[in-house]
Symmetry: C2
Subunit: 217 residues, 2 copies
Amino acid sequence: VIRLYGYWRSSASYRVRIGLELKGLHYESVPVNLLRDGGEQRAARYRAINPQGLVPTLEDGPQRITQSLAILEYLEETAPEPPLLPRGAAERARVRSLAQVVASDTHPLANLRVLQYLTEVLGRSPEERHAWIRHWLAQGLAACEALLAGHPATGRHCHGDAPTLADVCLVPQLYNARRFDCDLSGYPTLLRIEGACLALPAFVAAHPSRQGDAVAG
Amino acid sequence: VIRLYGYWRSSASYRVRIGLELKGLHYESVPVNLLRDGGEQRAARYRAINPQGLVPTLEDGPQRITQSLAILEYLEETAPEPPLLPRGAAERARVRSLAQVVASDTHPLANLRVLQYLTEVLGRSPEERHAWIRHWLAQGLAACEALLAGHPATGRHCHGDAPTLADVCLVPQLYNARRFDCDLSGYPTLLRIEGACLALPAFVAAHPSRQGDAVAG
């Protein structure tokens, strides 16, 4: 049995759901509510599963795996079809690099715990918090646009004509950017690729709004 | 010819240097001074090499690869010996997860550009900036300590008795934490593993102080 501990609106959880759906793997969702009671992810019960106190965590039988990109590489190794990485080492590096632009340079800066620190510790206003989010998301999305637009390996998707780890990271980041009213008009390539992704059943099934713990509004 | 564009004190550059040294690969260093003229990494000349304007970038003949973890995975695939990842999928996931705790959840929050934003845009004091750094580094290092201490797979190094991607990420993060006077006494497992790493010639050769562009003091 595969079990995914996650939160409907968590970008990292969303990535893993897309990966599972693309691989056609059946899994059970265990919601961890990041906003209830100061965050269920910080409670002892969840920390026994993931000492870092962050979502997602994947359970695959006796194995427990944390960190979305480590989980996705694990899925790629244990369920190779359809592949989420191309064949050649340089091509694989391009896809992993795009995934890291999102996962290391963009998403962590607009994460819930960082926003909480800006408000609660540094006493920043909602406007400053919003400007912070938009600044870092714009940096990350502009980097993705620059790396994708006009590159000969970019196709219908980030790399070629089938989704890879790069698309798996990009789509949740764009969802996240819309939540925070970022202006996306400067990223035509990203929007085109997002459109191609959202036409695929795996991306539809993994969408936050389709999760059992989603809250309307 | 392998060429590494980096900066002596950049944590991500340091990771790649360790990887190259562990693999016994000969490479040429091209210094990119992050502090000169508002940052050489932002200049058009370097952006032609890496549109994201961050270090490191690896050139391997005609290939250009960015993002330290993508570079390290590329080295693992093109120069498999000695391996920086264990054999089994679950074991590989553990190592990659530890690497991501550093590369996604810890390092990006105390990065130069983030610190510049805190000072220049948010007008925070040097003390608040320091507290910010120490807060996020402590979160990340405590997570590493929790994942490593007492885990049956932890050995002389993060995973078993030879260095892996996890050690490659951990050692530069500890160097970085010392620069900012973080209290490391709560991380005995990390310090023990760091000691084992720094006894190896590859880690010695990759150390910031040994780089041609290092500035004394």
